[in-house]
Amino acid sequence: MASQKIGVFVCRCGGNISDYVDVEKVVESIKGVEGVKIARVNMFSCSDSAQEEMIGLIKREGLDGIVIASCSPKLHLNTFRQMAQRAGLNPYQYTQVNIREQCSWTHTHDRDGATQKATRLVRAGIEATRHSEPLHPIEVVTRPSVLVVGAGIGGLRAAIALGEMGLTVHLLEKADRPGGLVGTRKALFPTGADGTSEIDSLLQRIHTLQNISLYTNASLVKKEGSIGDFSVSIRVEPKDGQDRADTIQLNVGAILVTTGATPYVPKEGEYGYGAKGIVTLREFLDLLDSSRDSDGIYYEGKRVRRITYIYCVGSRQKEGHTYCSRFCCSSAIFASLEVHKRSPDVLQYHLYRDIRTYGSLEALYQRALDQGSLFIRFSPDSPPKVECGHNGGGIKVLVKDLLTSKRELEISSDLVVLVTGLVPRVEQQEVQDVLKLPVGIDGFFNEIHPKLRPVETVVAGVYIGGCAQGPKNAQESVESSLGAAAKAGSILLKGKVELEPFVAEVDEGLCDGCGQCVEACPYDAITMGQRSDGTPVAVVNTRLCKGEGACVPVCPKEALEIRGYGHEKIRSMIRGLLTE
């Protein structure tokens, strides 16, 4: 049932479009197009009054499909889908044509050219609407329970948030006690809060919430089902006196992955690592934590008077860990401030590539400068060299200082701190295998979009938070984990969820049962079934299908298409774009 009575609305967007595109001319040129019942110009299509007017027209003219040529669909696709729905139309028979970001704003110097291009784009939009089928979101009932994998500071906070929403929470921790990286830290930047007591107070809160179950020494081993109704198996390692591991079956509506990350450990000999006096950031923080009441800084009983920090160790490499871990600059600088405070006579040299103390953390950097820390920038082409003392001599760090036109400096140091970042945990692989979560080039779990959909994954109902999706500081871990908790909570509390209907569809008349699509599908969403006459035919499990379309190009018969992106629709859009 394709649209036959189409309404076309071309937006002026104030002047954002009409200053560069002759919108009246666009409307004139598409008036005769087959199926176009009405064509109008709007001043601001998104305004309430324009929407009411369009709803009136849709009803009065009995339109069964509409096209709005305005801004990017990123801005108002949902606005107008909802408007279509209010007018009694199927929202998927609405097409938004982007004549602002992709026309008026890109071709500001050629009014005639831009007008012709806008017309072509609108023609393609008309074709899209003409070939659109009414679609209905896939509705799924959800269970009010969540599995949270990983009980670091992010997982704990997310579990509490979900528990306080009244949801049943199963909190899994691989180690024998919760807390993760924060659990053993005495001073967290930038506030200096005590991580140990922070975790303790979160655990107390968890114990008071009846609907949260905490499993330690536990891992996720199996997952079946889909959003709203997952069935998962967890394995709990045997405790003292037990000889067999427990396997527990749970049914949950959503899964949060807060498995965290682990500090990078330099290779033996990397910047002299392994030798006396050369420590990682984590080891240095441990050293500061274990001597909080001391007035000076001591390493192996000797007073430290000169500390050299080397930043980006194991980070931003040409190969391997190519990314920046974000938190390490601030953490190292925060530690250096503690040194300045405890022992002002210690001279501190910071050898860095770039300093990333973003937002209010810049204040830490400013304070370090103010207190006398010296920052020395080096080029990645000539990283510092560490020469370990022989026969009891000190450590020498050699670096080419970019600010003194690459003069080589030799810095004698009592202690060298390798400022190391975070890398994905090895144990993450199990979770990845069980949940079939995509990981990015860095090896961390991938969100759908870092800005627009930052905690969702392509596996509907599975959310990621904290360092599992990339290095973060404690505060950011908590923020993103709470974001994931809010997202999970929002579907579970509602009791049902609507999924976009853009999934693969088989035209049984065309399918010859070759099975190439079964192999092509990365999500095991296509299986080979049988027609009533016993012949093989591809069958799509719409709950597993992500709608990316990997199966489409492999089908020799064009029997597969993604709803909303059918072969004929695309071809007629191509024709529309070519019609002058």
Partner: protein, 100 residues
């Protein structure tokens, strides 16, 4: 090669408020210097912070050419006490080189 000599910074700090480490080398001072000496004052501070006494001695003329007019200091985005720092370096040089 410069052997970083921490005794120079320690000595400067013992003489007064030597806050050149705040400098992030933006070059505003150099651009505004009425004497127009390209080396003033950020590069000098760098050498002082690195303890490169020989480099300071080589640049004594520049160090003593500073007007202490504070045009740079007024506009320094980091609020470095430039004129005070120059004075402290002069003091160090007078003592080390001239014995004054």
């Amino acid at each position: 090669m410069i052997k970083v000599n921490d005794s120079v910074v320690r000595e400067l700090r013992s003489r007064g408020r030597f806050d050149a480490s705040k400098c992030f080398s933006c070059g505003t001072c150099t651009a505004l210097c009425p004497v127009g000496l390209p080396i003033l004052p950020r590069e000098i501070f760098r050498y002082a912070l690195l303890g490169a006494q020989e480099e300071l001695i080589k640049r004594q003329d520049e160090i003593f050419s500073c007007l202490l007019c504070r045009m740079c200091e007024e506009n320094c985005p980091e609020g470095v006490g430039i004129s005070g720092n120059i004075r402290l370096i002069r003091g160090l040089l007078n003592e080390k080189v001239l014995g004054l």
